[in-house]
């Protein structure tokens, strides 16, 4: 039943069991996925508010645009690869075979770790070149946005590491299907967020 239709039901008129003999959630999916979608919306709100603050702060006279390190393009490729590997792992769990699922899952996490390391490297390089956080709001936003994005990725890696431990200790990939699916979803989301943040910073 569509949400709008559901809201126009007159509950005092119909008695009896509605919706058959089974209990049904509003969405035909696992509760974990519903919660993750809500979390993704919350994270989107956080990033959009940072982006709005960025755009407003940018208009003020002391803003000196930062030339983003070229290395970010390389880091972006790492994050894309991480997402691709998660999607690969997810596609495998949809089939009957378990071939390569470990490679895909581990590879996805490793690329994400490399991405974070790469981001950290850009920080070091910027510091070495004298672009400190306090020298200009553009720099401050660079550290802040990349940092907040990395924190979200670290949260994902925590879930990934739990999945990894379970996988190594012999849990069937089938039982990890939900974890892999949710990780892939979350990684795609963080990739999109990164692309938007990167585009925002690179174009201003």
């Amino acid at each position: 039943m569509s949400l709008f239709k559901e809201l126009t039901v007159k509950p005092w008129e119909r008695k009896g069991i509605i919706g058959g003999l089974k209990a049904e959630g509003t969405f035909d999916t696992s509760p974990e996925k519903v919660a993750l979608v809500f979390f993704v919306v919350v994270a989107s709100v956080i990033f959009s508010l940072f982006a709005v603050s960025y755009l407003i702060r940018m208009e003020l006279p002391d803003w000196a645009p930062l030339t983003e390190p070229t290395q970010l393009w390389f880091n972006t490729v790492l994050l894309v690869l991480s997402s691709v590997f998660f999607q690969w792992a997810r596609n495998i769990t949809k089939t009957d075979s378990n071939k390569n699922v470990m490679t895909a899952f581990v590879g996805a996490g490793l690329f994400a770790i490399m991405f974070i390391a790469g981001q950290y490297l850009t920080w070091e390089n910027l510091q070495a070149e004298g672009f400190y956080m306090t020298s200009n709001p553009a720099n401050a936003f660079y550290y802040l946005l990349t940092g907040v994005h990395a924190v979200h990725l670290l949260g994902g890696l925590w879930v990934w590491s739990i999945g990894l431990i379970r996988m190594i200790s012999g849990t069937e990939a089938k039982e990890l299907k939900l974890s892999i699916e949710l990780c892939a979803f979350y990684w795609h989301f963080l990739l999109i967020i990164w692309l938007i943040m990167f585009a925002l910073m690179a174009n201003t």
Binding site: K10, L21, T26, A35, L49, D62, V148
Partner: protein, 596 residues
């Protein structure tokens, strides 16, 4: 693994069974224990805030008699009173306390979807309270910047607690938001996915609807506070200039340059206004159920009530700048926000009409919870009407930062939700503890609180008209404020002290009744909603015994003509009781009226 519907899973939901006293009562994953932990912490920290307000009142009412606090401590009290009451008390008690207790019971689930996350939520909340209270013991004390903690003033010398106090406040808020997000994800997912068989969204009690919409508001609004807290922490600790403009502190220019304090205000109020409704919507829901139960009538206009909750929730995100009319905004910007502010009064007024119409011709039982619920209608109308004044730019400008504002928001989001909280605490007390409270004592508590409220806040409106500024330690000598304002202040203080001390009645009542109250039975109010139909009172771990309930009707089948009781519980099948469909309701031949 394809998704298996709840009812087809073997044990429906795997419960975490406590193995020792610690996992049963301390690190419990049972939503009811977590609810009581949330509620206990919230009420305890609320008492701290109450004491702070009494200290302020003694200073304001009798500046020469009492010498308890100095100006710095006064500002710190103002700040901590406001922040604790709004965030750590009301939000935590309504969503953490009532949300946790009511949602699984009202939707017919065994527990929250993610019990472990739920436990994490309450302990993270406890951590945030500890960080907040720690600021009383650090150098410089807690922040005294006002609950709005505007930069640059909040972090500069001259403001009490500008060093450690503000840092701890921001850190505590960030931790609180993490706790709230963990709880909030649980509430929405439980409501959406774990409803028992037959329980459609439109059969949910309004309590659940209020909690549902408020949680969604919280999930979307708290990020704004998180974002501003993080950027402000960077300004304070790392020396960035997100919000800090070029500024001179005690003659020395600081290293800040070019930041925008107004940006902080926008972010803060983008959280701050929905926050009002995060507190108000659960209260609206709870009071709807209390009114309907004790009036023995279905809630008037159920669908309208749901739509109004959704409309208020949506509109609450586009009214924030009405807190900032004096910040120097473009007139059209102010015009827009004044318009949206007045529009939000429409669904709100609709709810008030529906509450009153629920009482109309009802078989009203004047129990103590009903006293508080009806009291709420008074204070809410009162506070809502002054909101219409303040929502208009031209009226707001002269009244801004006066006691009129203090009176308005205390009536509408201080006293009103608190009256609902008392109504709800008394109403559900028999379910939570299995015993009845002492009715006369609860009614005495009501009359002192309700009349005292008016004795405190009505004169404040008048002080506001006189131009008495808020947040001032003392009035000093001012031409436009007559001497008699001080007499009014003294009277307000006396009333506040009486109301403050009278709250002891509530605590004596609930603790005494815990042991000596008479046994309540499973459903003392004759309530139709699901939480009163549990096999055990108080509900045990797992809530529902062997089988989950099945719901056949909405939560408001009260005084159904032809039924042999004046309520039909939600889990009673339609063929066991005559339904409204079979016997059309005819007010002229209503049997219950014929006996009068």
């Amino acid at each position: 693994m394809a998704y298996v519907p709840l009812a087809d899973q073997d044990s429906e939901q795997e419960l975490h069974h406590p193995k020792s006293w610690v996992t049963e009562w301390v690190f419990s994953q049972d939503h009811k224990v977590i609810a009581i932990q949330y509620g206990g912490i919230a009420i305890a920290v609320g008492i701290v805030a109450l004491v702070l307000s009494l200290l302020m009142r003694m200073q304001l009412g009798f500046p020469d008699t009492f010498d308890l606090i100095d100006p710095s401590q006064y500002y710190q009290s103002v700040t901590m009173h406001g922040m604790i009451m709004v965030v750590y008390m009301l939000t935590a008690l309504l969503l953490g306390g009532f949300g946790n207790y009511m949602i699984p019971l009202m939707v017919g689930a065994r527990d929250m979807v993610f019990p472990f996350l739920n436990m994490l939520s309450v302990w993270t909340y406890f951590l945030s309270v500890l960080i907040l209270l720690a600021s009383f013991f650090v150098t410089g004390g807690p922040t005294g910047a006002g609950w709005t903690i505007y930069p640059p003033q909040a972090t500069m010398a001259g403001t009490p607690g500008h060093d450690m106090g503000i840092v701890l406040m921001l850190a505590s808020l960030a931790v609180f938001i993490v706790a709230f997000t963990m709880g909030g994800l649980n509430y929405v997912t439980t409501i959406l996915q774990y409803r028992c068989r037959g329980l459609t969204m439109m059969r949910l009690p309004l309590t659940v609807w209020g909690l549902f919409i408020a949680t969604i508001l919280g999930l979307f609004a708290f990020p704004a506070l998180l974002v501003s807290a993080v950027m402000m922490l960077f300004d304070t600790l790392a020396g960035t200039s997100f919000f800090m403009p070029a500024v001179i502190e005690a003659g020395t220019p600081l290293d800040y340059n070019g930041g925008s304090p107004i940006l902080f205000q926008h972010l803060f109020w983008f959280f701050g206004h929905p926050e009002v409704y995060i507190v108000a919507l659960p209260a609206f829901g709870l009071v709807s159920d209390v009114l309907s139960t004790h009036a023995r009538k279905n809630i008037f206009g159920y669908r309208m009530m749901v739509w109004a909750l959704i409309a208020i929730g949506g509109l609450s995100f586009i009214v924030w700048a009405h807190h900032m009319y004096v910040s120097g905004m473009h007139p059209y910007f102010g015009f827009f926000f004044a318009t949206t502010t007045l529009i939000i009064a429409v669904p709100t007024a609709l709810k008030v009409y529906n509450w009153v119409l629920t009482l109309w011709e009802g078989d009203i039982r004047l129990n103590a919870p009903m006293y508080f619920a009806i009291g709420f209608i008074f204070t809410f109308i009162h506070g809502g009407l002054t909101g219409l004044f303040l929502g208009n730019v031209v009226i707001d400008l002269p009244l801004s930062d006066t006691y009129f504002v203090v009176a308005h928001f205390h009536m509408v989001m201080g006293v009103s939700p608190v009256l609902v909280l008392f109504a709800a605490l008394y109403h559900w007390y028999p379910k939570v503890t299995g015993r009845m409270f002492n009715e006369p004592m609860a009614k005495a508590h009501f009359w002192i609180t309700f009349l005292g409220t008016y004795a405190i806040y009505l004169p404040m409106h008048y002080l506001g008209f006189l131009g008495v500024p808020r947040r001032y330690y003392a009035l000093g000598e001012t031409d436009f404020i007559p001497e008699s304002a001080q007499d009014l202040n003294a009277a307000i203080t006396i009333a506040a002290l009486i109301v403050g001390v009278a709250q002891i009645l509530f605590f004596i009542n609930i603790f005494w009744s815990l042991r000596y109250g008479k046994k309540a039975g499973p459903n003392p109010w004759g309530s139709a909603s699901l939480e009163w139909q549990t096999p055990d009172t108080p509900p045990v771990h797992g809530n529902w015994g062997a089988e989950l309930p099945t719901v056949y009707r909405w939560a408001y089948d009260y005084s159904v003509p032809g039924a042999h009781q004046d309520f039909i519980p939600q889990n009673v099948p339609e063929n066991e009781e005559p339904t409204a469909d079979e016997q059309h309701f005819d007010p002229d031949h209503d049997q219950s009226k014929a006996n009068l």
